[in-house]
């Protein structure tokens, strides 16, 4: 009986230790995510042009071009506009997003042929973006509050010492059940993400390359690669003409402003 009781106490102590350490791991994971998120604070606004290569299994490439503008919103998620330039049939189509910290983002779509601004009703952003391996979700801003974190380990990735953190999306509409994120210890920049689908399969790997620094603090990866392990396809985003502090205002990110984009 005493033996059993001892065992019980030992088990209790042990599980307490585990829970405490899990707590510590969660806290540490979140701290790293916060530091990584704080990295670019104070950029005010940014603009860039993007080329997206869609590469199939055989290696055939088709390209898409778009322009991107973003506005930092204090105490809420950022506002952004993506305007499509090619292929030609979607030229001028634009997507306006208001990201929010916890609740679902607001999105509007502008269709220039109909001159119509349409609210996107679907909260489900797991669908493919412009036929690529990126989903709409991969394009939205990764607000810290949208995930639960767990610090996993430290390890080198491409000779860079990194923190490895697991994050679980809190959004019930997310297409992912978990993501493993590699963040470098020196600058707290995301280097790699493994995305796990609803069946917990490792569906996609996202690589962040060619980070360049603007105005001494704003880090921008100039190449983001998304590899889909299920269908063998990949999509690569190349950034160009990156500029921060353009002097954009709230008005440049209104539904009405969409009608002026082309």
């Amino acid at each position: 009986m005493k033996h059993l009781l001892n065992k019980g106490v030992a088990y209790f102590t042990y599980s307490l230790l585990i829970f405490t350490s899990l707590d510590i791991m969660a806290n540490r994971g979140e701290e790293i995510a916060i530091l990584s998120d704080k990295n670019n604070d104070g950029f005010i606004d940014s603009s860039s042009s993007m080329k997206m290569d869609l590469i199939n299994k055989k290696g055939d490439v088709v390209s898409r071009k778009l322009r991107f503008r973003r506005l930092e919103v204090p105490d809420d998620g950022d506002k952004s506009i993506a305007i499509f330039e090619s292929p030609r049939d979607v030229k001028g189509v634009a997507i306006l997003s208001y990201a929010h910290k916890v609740e679902a983002d607001d999105q509007w779509l502008y269709l220039p042929a109909l001159k119509r601004v349409k609210r996107i009703a679907s909260k489900n952003k797991s669908g493919p973006f412009l036929g690529s391996e990126f989903s709409f979700e991969d394009f939205s801003f990764q607000e810290v509050e949208k995930y639960k974190y767990l610090f996993l380990r430290e390890e080198n990735y491409l000779d860079k010492p990194c923190f490895v953190v697991e994050r679980i999306p809190l959004d019930p509409y997310s297409g992912y059940t978990k993501q493993i994120v590699w963040i470098d210890k020196k600058n707290y920049l995301v280097q790699k993400i493994h995305h796990y689908d609803r069946k917990f399969f490792h569906l996609k790997t996202q690589l962040f390359k060619d980070y360049r620094i603007y105005e001494g603090f704003f880090w921008q990866p100039h190449e983001i690669e998304m590899i889909n392990h299920q269908n063998g396809k990949k999509s690569v985003l190349y950034f160009d003409e990156v500029k921060i502090k353009n002097g954009f205002t709230e008005r440049d990110f209104s539904q009405n402003s969409l009608k002026r984009s082309r």
């Binding site: 869609l54 199939n56 088709v62 090619s86 292929p87 030609r88 049939d89 979607v90 030229k91 109909l114 001159k115 119509r116 609210r119 009703a121 679907s122 909260k123 489900n124 952003k125 797991s126 669908g127 493919p128 036929g131 297409g175 609803r198 008005r251 209104s254 539904q255 009405n256 002026r260 082309r262």
Partner: protein
């Protein structure tokens, strides 16, 4: 300069009720220029259309020719333009700024350019657009040789206006819109010559109608409310000046299933009901859209329109995809089923019951 060149071929399965031909084709050329800087925008878009059978479908139109001047307090648009109002998908009740290019698409989605000055104020309380609309454009109709035509031919001569300034009247419109979390709302008012005519029998020609364009006052309300991924929509109007005051409404919902059967394909649903004080029936529409989310952006649209009183059914199936980087190909088929029985109800499809067709359209972008 950029633009589009469109080849459109339509094949009808039967000779028309009015002996119209089976094969129709048309060509459309649409050049476009868009310039912008931080203070403003210049936009030009023209449209030239040539039809091989129905000369009433020939068109020369300036769709857009305007500048927008962006000021600190407001934004002003001067020139010819198109303006869309509304939230529903199948019928556009409140959308009154532009005349419908009826012969381009009989669903009323295509519009003609309208000369205007528009002043926009964007504030915390929403967006306010104020319009002065200069001059009026008649609606175009299919000619006697055209398919999908009305049962009686429309006379071009002797169009009647209730305004003494005829088609030179300056019309006014105002619209306020805003959104509050999941609710989008807009209220509008239009005072001017109705874009939609009523028809009077012609005194000069037997079996012909003359369009009459009355001066109307129309107040519109647009509401959209989002519940998760479901959008509930309604458009309501109340119009005076065209006989007795009447109201009309379109209401329904739109819902999208993202990634059906664990694939990349999205399936969207639209159900919309119509009410119009002037009609006995209340037709409804059920539509679906399959988006394959592939590199070529392949889609399949289908829709049923059902006239609840006469039991007529129209069915549409449309598929489209990108071809290379320059082109877009769409193929659509429309079938009208009126069951040929006379149940004593107002028929919507009587004149077009033999106008089932298949259409292929190729758009080349330059």
């Amino acid at each position: 300069m950029i633009g589009e060149f469109i080849v459109d071929k339509r094949h009808f399965f039967n000779t028309g009720v009015y002996d119209q031909q089976k094969a129709h084709s048309s060509f459309t050329f649409s050049p476009e220029v868009f310039l912008e800087n931080s203070e403003g925008i210049f936009h030009f878009k023209g449209k030239l259309r040539k039809d091989n059978e129905d000369s009433e479908r020939n068109l020369i139109d300036i769709q857009e020719l305007y500048i927008i001047n962006i000021l600190d307090e407001r934004e002003i648009k001067y020139g010819i333009s198109k303006e869309f109002w509304g939230v529903t998908e199948t019928t556009h009740r409140v959308d009154v700024i532009n005349q419908t290019d009826y012969t381009e698409a009989f669903d009323g989605e295509e519009k003609l350019g309208q000369p205007m000055i528009k002043i926009s104020y964007e504030r915390k309380w929403g967006l306010l657009d104020i319009y002065a609309l200069f001059g009026f454009r008649e609606r175009n109709f299919y000619g006697d040789k055209g398919r999908l035509r009305l049962p009686i031919s429309i006379s071009e001569k002797g169009v009647i206006y209730s305004s003494s300034s005829k088609n030179k009247r300056t019309d006014f419109a105002i619209r306020w819109s805003n959104y509050f979390d999941n609710l989008d709302i807009a209220i509008s008012h239009f005072s001017g010559t109705s874009r939609e005519p009523i028809f009077l029998p012609s005194h000069e020609k037997i079996n012909a109608l003359i369009p009459r364009y009355d001066v109307i006052d129309q107040t519109g309300l647009e509401i959209q409310y989002l519940i998760d991924s479901l959008a509930i929509k309604a458009e309501l109007i109340s119009r005076s000046g065209q006989g007795d005051r009447f109201s009309a409404a379109t209401y329904g919902f739109e819902y999208t299933q993202v990634g059906i059967f664990e694939s990349r394909t999205d399936l969207g649903w639209v159900v919309e009901l119509n009410h119009d004080d002037r009609l006995e029936s209340s037709p409804y529409v059920l539509g679906t859209r399959l988006s394959f989310n592939d590199v070529d952006d392949s889609q399949i649209l289908s829709g049923f329109i059902v006239n609840n009183k006469s039991k007529e059914i129209g069915f549409l199936l449309e598929t489209s995809r990108r071809v290379g980087e320059c082109c877009l190909l769409s193929v659509e088929g429309i079938y009208f089923d009126d069951r040929d029985e006379d149940n004593g109800q107002q028929k919507l499809f009587q004149a077009i019951q033999k106008d089932d067709f298949i259409r292929a359209e190729l758009i080349y972008y330059f």
